[in-house]
């Protein structure tokens, strides 16, 4: 579904998010005692239904997520999602704790929100910088539940900019998922801004 963009435009989007995720990793490393590396294989733009399938969560599986709403040039919802166990594990490893029992305590939820905020902010940041977008972003929130609960505020007709993230820690790797959910209108505006950006680069490098 990334076919609405040319390969060059996909390349640009990938580079933008690579830089964003890289910056996020940098920030995280300064916050915590463990070394964390964040890597993303690729960017995909899909209908929400397909994105949900990519997540590969069973319908009754518990998901821990950090979400931030955004509006302006394009509007939607940003999500960073983990399976509940992965979320617990990530927090526990980064905090250097013994494993929390079964659920994230309220204060541990805050830690996950902070981590999610760093990552999503970094993505927003590079998007704003590179694409010159004007968007306003809301505070991050914690949400936990099954996949339907997480996706409550988006409709079946929305689209996702989906990125699978690998958190590489010394002891193990943890998988996370980022989704920027937008309706079709916002998505087209977003893609248009990517085209404009690439056009700008192309003309500059030819000049």
């Amino acid at each position: 579904m990334t076919e609405n963009l040319t390969p060059l435009e996909v390349d640009a989007l990938t580079e933008i998010f690579n830089i964003g995720i890289g910056r996020a990793a940098n920030s995280l490393n300064q916050m915590v005692s463990q070394t964390v590396d964040l890597t993303i294989p690729k960017i995909e733009i899909l209908p929400n239904i397909e994105a949900k399938q990519k997540l590969n969560f069973d319908s009754d599986m518990e998901i821990s997520a950090v979400t931030q709403q955004f509006s302006g040039d394009f509007k939607g919802q940003a999500l960073l999602m983990f399976s509940k166990e992965n979320g617990l594990q990530l927090v526990s490893l980064l905090l250097g704790n013994k494993i929390p029992i079964e659920d994230l305590s309220e204060l541990e939820q805050d830690s996950l929100v902070e981590i999610g905020n760093v990552i999503l902010n970094a993505c927003f940041g590079t998007v704003i910088n590179f694409l010159q977008s004007s968007i306003s972003i809301e505070m991050p929130e914690f949400v936990q539940g099954n996949i339907n609960k997480i996706f409550t505020y988006s409709s079946e007709h929305d689209w996702s900019l989906y990125i699978k993230v690998k958190f590489s820690l010394p002891s193990e790797n943890i998988a996370g998922h980022i989704s920027f959910i937008m309706d079709i209108t916002s998505l087209e505006i977003f893609q248009e801004s990517v085209r404009k950006f690439v056009f700008g680069i192309t003309s500059k490098s030819q000049g």
């Binding site: 204060l107 805050d110 902010n121 940041g125 704003i128 306003s136 972003i137």
Partner: protein, 683 residues
Amino acid sequence: MTNLSNDILYATLNQLSVGIIIIDEQQRLVFFNQWLSDYSGMVLDEQEGNLLDDIFEQYQDSRLSGACESALSLGLPARLSHTFNPTPLPLYQKNFIGDKDHLIQQQISVKRIATNASTPLCQIVIDNVTHMVKKEQTLQKLADENIVQRQKAEIANQSKSQFLANMSHEIRTPINGVLGMLTLLADTQLSKTQHHFSTLAKVSAETLLNLINDILDFSKIEAGKLDIEKIAFNLTDSIAETVQAMAIKAQQKGIEVVVDTTALTQPLVVGDSSRIKQIITNLLSNAIKFTEQGEINIIVETTEQTAEIVKLDIVVVDTGIGIPTKKCDELFNAFTQVDASTTREYGGTGLGLTIVRQLCQLMGGDIAVKSEQGQGSQFSFYLTLEKSEKLNKPWQRFTEKPILLITTNQSNNKFLCKQLSLWGLDVVGETAEGEVLALCNKIANNDFSVLVLDESLDSSLLEAISNALFKNNSQHDKKVQLILLTSIDDSQSSISASVDLLGKNECLHKLPKPIISASLHQLLTSIFSSKSIVTDIVNPKSAKASQANQINESGEVRILLVEDNRINQEVALGLLRKFGYQADVAKNGIHALELLAQRQLSAPYKLILMDCQMPEMDGYQATIAIRTDNLYQASSQVSIIAMTANSMTGDQEKCLAAGMNDYLAKPINPNLLAEKIAFWLDN
């Protein structure tokens, strides 16, 4: 919104229970509220317009500062939890301003205020989470302690199991020695006094064994370690066996025992037959103990049935000394007896009924007692059992002429009438002596298919009836049979001449009381089919034993006994000798394997009696070696019977899993031993 004047808004901000800082694009202070003032010791008027870097130490180049920068330039909101940096700002508990040991833990939100696009401001909101953190730490500690406690409990639980298993084994081993030796002693040449003493010793040992079993059961139940088996079995047979085993004692006291299982139309059930037998044995033993004359009735009824489940009610009623009504409630409490004098006179631990109730409850039921002093007792218990999938074969009905039934006991009479009519037979019963004559005429007239009389009937009555029958039979080809209901121990009774005559003419059958439906049906079937005249129905167990006694005479049979305890070796050898067998002895698994290897090509063993607990190599290991190791290939299929003092659930499975063929619990029951040896040698 226009109703709220600046003064009101200002006042509200200053009354908030969170801190608010507002900065401009250069991160200079625009405003902070009263809360922040209180917790920082700063005064707004003094700090307004200063760079935050200058106001708060450690702010410069901090994460908070970076977050404010991103908020102001890109509009990115930030959440800073307390975990990665608990004290980004120098805020202290009230009364401890400036004291680094009393910094408060902070949770911070940063957001741009973009009311005016050209002059963005940034708000920093601070929450004091010190208490929350403390609470969570306490909760965490409690949770950890909980886990530790649970682990300790688990270990204690396992120790308990281990203890019970060990105790069980340790106690049974010497008791096996005592009982075994006494059994062997009884078979030697003893004087009358010696025999008497050895009998008393044996009774004491058996009592001791019962006590220990009670205590072990009780401990197991208390520890939650008693498992109820789920195996298909015939309930009627189980009840019959139990009652038969105990009836002799009752009959010796002159007490009549009646077992009515007519309501059990579907006797095949799934459950724990040995535990059910244990309950009945306990109740019956009490009934016999506390009854001097009269009768004991065991009646089974099924009260509820679904396709899968049957609820059984079993009642044990006696005409004994009874229990004071107000003591009935305490009866099932552990360690209580009715009163001290009862204990002195009748003995007992007081555990029996407690265990009985616990067993009932474990089997989906309960038990209750109704009694009055001097008026006998009625114990009724119910169980919930699954029906077996196997089909119940219904009794074959009879179409013969009526049966003449004369007994001396009302309950027995009632039961027999009920059972016989369920089988399709009419019953004629007279007890009044005046009718004897009319009766004899009918008998002589071939009016009856079979006569059933109790041997304790008046002798003249018996004589008259026997004579009439004899006369009848001499006139007809088909001889009408007489079934005489006797007590189990028939040796003392004298048979009247006429009855004896019938016996000589093969028209007499003796059926020992208590009458078991199955035995009666079997007898009637063979009588009516007149294929083979069945002689006395003897106790099936003793039949097997005598059969066993005969086998040993043919050929040399090699048996290997593997047992480490010297006394138990002798017990086992002695019992084997009693049944005419000889055996080689190995003192542990290793020794056993050596002997096995030596003999396997020349004169291999046909049967191994394997003790389970032995030093160096135990029974399980030895068995596994025999079955799997190539060294013993020639003997790998030898029959192995386990002998074990372990009585925990799962031991039987453990033996079978190791490859043993059968299983005997210590103390060894001689008859059972003989049975099993006979069976496995035959194989």
